[in-house]
Symmetry: C2
Subunit: 353 residues, 2 copies
């Protein structure tokens, strides 16, 4: 605490990211990173951009990258916004599109950054409990609101809401912006991006951190009606006009151009996940249906926090949330098959001990 801080800073409870431990030979299954590296074309594109030209500013409009993403999603360039991570894109959306004179609605269980943004920007919000089985009931959202946001597939549950439900939400709330945070959609969700031309109130956010194996490059984007995108541009250009550096621009563009590699990586992760779910069930775990690159699981006889600690002793790091409704579960990222074999082996010994 300092008297030099603004009032907002005193009230903040900053987000706690999953740790990045510096432990040798760690099996790191705690931050939903892709176990496979980015496309070789990404490495090549970054190598080409790594030159004396770094002395110059990047394109503040990121036009080449936007065009690539627009083409990929069958949209116009003015329907695409890019930022330094989808966290930043979300921050601008909270500031520019979700701060209204009615409360913002989101589930009690979803990306835990949302309430942090609300405090940062003094946005009134209301958390709507998910059902007991962690599914989202759209009928619970029939209340006056200044916007709705949730992750789909949701985190940390991994559960996907059908697109038909999102369409209904959009129809029922024509005066609110509805943000669908699709950080994990490429691992089995159905993207709402195909609804963008039908709904001026829809904003879809995605990231290159998970399915495109680029958590280390910090690139996220939003898709939506040109008016919503312009709102985000106005906030970004009042914050830092050159959001993405030259290397990130080059790498991100290359990631979208190597579609075969992208599809192959996603399919490998999905195949591993399906196999791991079955193996975990055999060990007595209940695993929520996952459309993501992680599973959310609990064991009838073993306490999650204890399993978390014991896995860590074996150099396997997963994520544990000491929060209401979540504290019985472990969130486990899908790693390589070899990593998951080690995990299953260790879990097998722990639950039979």
């Amino acid at each position: 605490m300092s008297r030099f801080w603004s009032e907002t800073v005193h009230s903040l409870t900053p987000y706690t990211p999953g740790e990045q431990p510096q432990i040798e030979q760690l099996i790191k299954l705690n931050t939903n990173e892709n176990p496979y590296g980015p496309s070789p074309q990404v490495i090549t594109a970054i190598a080409e951009a790594n030159s004396a030209d770094l002395r110059k500013y990047p394109d503040p409009n990121a036009s080449d990258l936007k065009r690539t993403i627009a083409d990929y999603h069958g949209l116009n360039i003015n329907q695409v916004f890019v930022g330094n991570s989808s966290d930043e894109v979300l921050a601008h959306a909270f500031k520019g599109l979700l701060k209204k004179n009615k409360p913002l609605l989101f589930p009690d269980i979803t990306y835990s950054f949302y309430p942090v943004y609300c405090v940062l920007y003094e946005i009134d919000y209301q958390q709507i409990p998910l059902r007991d089985d962690f599914t989202l009931n759209i009928d619970d959202y029939r209340i006056p609101n200044g916007g709705i946001i949730f992750a789909n597939p949701n985190a940390p549950t991994g559960i996907a809401l059908p697109l038909a439900d999102i369409k209904t939400l959009l129809e029922r709330n024509p005066d609110s912006v509805i943000v669908i945070d699709e950080a994990y959609v490429d691992f089995g969700g159905d993207s709402a991006s195909k609804l963008i031309n039908d709904f001026p109130n829809l904003l879809v956010t995605q990231t290159l951190s998970k399915s495109r194996s680029l958590a280390g490059l910090r690139v996220g984007f939003a898709l939506g009606h040109a008016d919503l995108i312009e709102g985000l541009e106005r906030v970004k250009n009042s914050f830092h006009p050159y959001a993405l550096d030259k290397l990130a621009l080059a790498g991100a563009q290359a990631a979208f151009k190597d579609d075969a590699y992208f599809i192959s990586c996603c399919n490998k992760v999905i195949a591993t996940r399906e196999r791991v779910v079955k193996d975990m069930q055999k060990l007595g775990f209940s695993v929520l249906p996952s459309a993501t690159n992680f599973v959310f699981a609990k064991h009838a006889e073993h306490t999650a926090s204890v399993l978390f600690e014991k896995l860590r002793e074996q150099r396997i790091v997963v994520r544990y949330f000491d929060k209401p409704r979540l504290s019985d579960y472990l969130r486990i990222s899908i790693g390589t098959d070899a990593e998951m074999d080690t995990l299953l082996d260790v879990l097998g010994k722990l639950v039979s001990a």
Copy 2:
């Protein structure tokens, strides 16, 4: 305009960055980029970080980079904050340290982004006119305030305020945070960083974009009392915890380690500037005393806006501000000697025509 925008978005007048024209064989003297590329050690460090490891998140605390900067400036690691450009660092400072219940003070002529941040974060501000000769009179700041900020050396004038004056300002305003934006300090200013251990209310911001030739990498930082830095960290961790990507972290760290290259580049720019100032004076220009990598100059007989257009026709781009007090001047970045020879040659013909 869109009904989906928040109230703030409607009121914004976003910052307009200098253009990044895509013209062949352009002499680009409009955005104060360094004419020399970054250190070869920067290129090597980025090449080493450009690997499959990009699949993983960077260190959210950027500890290695912070330690390098702290060592360089003789400070502790908790006195250093890093961000995705000094624009971002400044944005967090406005939000976290300069939003108070008294007005923020800054000169009428300084970095034109400051009033944009004030609108973005709803900060009350008062602009204090510089003297007629564009110097800053610290006695004009003896009014109740919630903070003071200016660029030193100032932009777009290039004029440096002596450190003794900054010390007096800090002593006179013990309850306000005073931010000295030192984007250009390495080209001839005297850094206030050496006052940090004496004044808990001083924040110094710097960038790697100019003197370290890394505008394309987007890295800036702040130095100050650990309490001020903690305030910035709280805002940043409520916005996007992983502000700097792995390549930017690696490149920025290398830039600080090659001090010989850095000093040599700065000296070359300074030598070119001193020579250019004399040559421009011979052509009839008045040039403000510059401690930066640009000059701010006007001609007694030739209109700045006309010169700006005529230079552009000759593929030389400089910066022209169509604003009160500034519209008689051109801001010209210092390029290579060859580029400046061409500029002087063209200017010579234009003013004698």
